[in-house]
């Protein structure tokens, strides 16, 4: 079967639409998954989203869940929905290589908590998705333009969803990897409050900055998935312990009150991004949103150096054992300057982080959400991760952020905005994201008539 003779419209269904149809047996789990499998067969040689594609396992699981659905048995709200998992999370039986980073290569004996929760809810794990390689960029291409990067490090997850090779995927954001790549690929994503989605079974990049993220087409999809995987996990020592209150992405009747950050962030952006955000803000205002300019306090730009020191020191510490093993094995391992960050500076950066957090929270007395671009520019040429400075502050502060699309650049490339909200306000931020989505609309499926793959 090819994408041409598959029931192709099925891959354009949102997760919410597909799950609802499967639940009432209007949609066959097998047909739905075959649409994605066929599209993957056709597009993966161009996109290169998968670090490991379990095509046979995916098809077998789809057949099993199809039989169960026909028998009236639904495992959960995600029955029959396929997912890609960033090659940073443990998926039982699938190789975990962190895309060949750090000399890691093993087959986990158990699922990461979020993977287990996806399965419990009826999700199917199609495979693991690329992130940057240790010695270079990931091979993944942006579905909107193969010469452009999908961003990183959630490269494969974002590109797969952007190309409609999958309806949803899991990413991770240490400095913005779960927000900027989805925006580059024209899809939506949520980075919840630090610790709200369990990190158990996640290959750590930075203990206090890593945030599992949800990537899909719409806020409603994200809410549905978030409700299945978020919440306390006794196995996650850094996780939030508050009980999970289910979220929804119901469009609120009252337009939101948003503060557009007008210092520090805009200075880093290219004009094309600022122009696109201006257009989006005008549309949101026309629809009733109260959007005011808001200033971060003097000195807030210390967030970027503080993030750099924290991330560097934690990364070097966690990965030291792997680089050490590589060195012992005789590999030529380049030294990393973060190995030399003094403990005093790591702790001082953590103090700066506290101060930055204390500076941001009072802004939410004036507005409900903070607005910035999701990236400094349109997706750049090549395969690089892209500039993370729009996103890393919200990883440093640990509050939720999301991205929604604000249209295409003059080059026909996706552009995204980013909202941030106070900790544990996932319900509120998804609702306002849905409101923005309802005003601005969603991007169409990208044109994937690529030249023949090499």
């Amino acid at each position: 079967m090819t994408a041409t003779d598959a029931p192709t419209a099925l891959y354009s269904l949102t997760v919410t639409e597909a799950a609802a149809k499967i639940a009432v047996r209007e949609l066959s789990v097998l047909d739905y998954n075959m649409a994605f499998i066929a599209r993957t067969d056709e597009l993966e040689p161009h996109i290169k989203a998968y670090a490991y594609l379990d095509r046979d396992g995916w098809l077998a699981e789809a057949k099993q869940l199809d039989e169960e659905a026909k028998a009236g048995k639904l495992r959960g709200p995600l029955h029959g929905i396929p997912f890609g998992i960033k090659d940073q999370f443990f998926v039982k039986g699938m190789p975990c290589t962190v895309s060949a980073s750090w000399g890691v290569d093993f087959v986990p004996a158990a699922d990461a908590t979020l993977v287990a929760r996806l399965r419990e809810a009826g999700g199917i794990i199609a495979g693991t998705t690329y992130m940057p390689l240790r010695d270079g960029d990931p091979p993944t291409c942006n579905p909107w333009n193969l010469a452009r990067t999908p961003g990183g490090s959630s490269s494969g997850s974002s590109a797969a969803v952007g190309a409609r090779m999958l309806p949803a995927a899991i990413g991770e954001s240490t400095g913005g990897s779960g927000i900027r790549p989805p925006s580059f690929c024209g899809v939506a994503a949520l980075k919840p409050t630090f610790g709200r989605i369990s990190g158990k079974g996640m290959y750590v990049y930075s203990w206090t900055l890593d945030h599992p993220t949800v990537i899909s087409q719409t806020m409603a999809d994200i809410a549905l998935i978030y409700n299945c995987i978020a919440g306390p996990d006794p196995l996650d020592e850094t996780g939030r312990t508050e009980p999970l209150e289910p979220v929804s992405a119901e469009v609120p009747a009252t337009p939101p009150k948003i503060g557009r950050i007008v210092n520090y962030f805009p200075d880093l952006c290219q004009q094309v991004m600022l122009d696109q955000l201006d257009v989006a803000v005008a549309k949101l205002k026309d629809a009733g949103a109260e959007i005011t300019d808001i200033m971060l306090p003097d000195g807030w730009d210390a967030v970027w150096p503080a993030w750099k020191l924290i991330m560097g020191a934690e990364q070097s510490t966690y990965h030291g054992r792997h680089t050490g093993a590589l060195i012992t094995s005789g590999a030529d391992v380049a030294p990393v300057i973060a190995d030399l960050v003094p403990a005093t500076y790591y702790l001082q950066a953590m103090r700066v982080r506290r101060w930055l957090t204390d500076c941001v929270l009072p802004l939410f007395d004036q507005v409900d959400f903070l607005l910035t671009p999701a990236a400094v520019e349109e997706p750049p040429l090549g395969h690089g991760s892209g500039d993370n400075r729009m996103n890393s502050p919200w990883s440093a502060v640990g509050i939720p952020s999301l991205t929604f699309n604000i249209g295409l650049s003059p080059n026909g490339l996706p552009m995204g905005a980013q909202l941030a909200a106070p900790a544990l306000q996932e319900d509120a931020i998804l609702k306002v994201g849905a409101w923005c989505e309802s005003v601005l609309g969603r991007l169409p499926t990208p044109d994937v008539t690529y030249p023949a793959a090499p």
Partner: protein
């Protein structure tokens, strides 16, 4: 490396370069010049932020 009084980027760069040379050799340190400059800039900024004396680190 001291934090107070704040270090300049040049001071941090010299310190990191010396540490890198001691750890990995002069040639490797030279190859890390750009990374060292960026990290030195970060150290300088972080050491320059005026923080309340009783502010504790944030470990989320």
């Amino acid at each position: 490396m001291r934090i107070y009084p704040p270090v300049t980027p040049e001071e941090a760069q010299a310190w990191l370069t010396a540490q890198a040379a001691a750890a990995w050799g002069e040639e490797a340190a030279a190859g890390l010049a750009d990374d060292i400059a960026a990290m030195a800039e970060a150290m300088s900024v972080v050491s320059s932020v005026q923080l309340p004396d009783d502010l504790e680190p944030l470990f989320p």
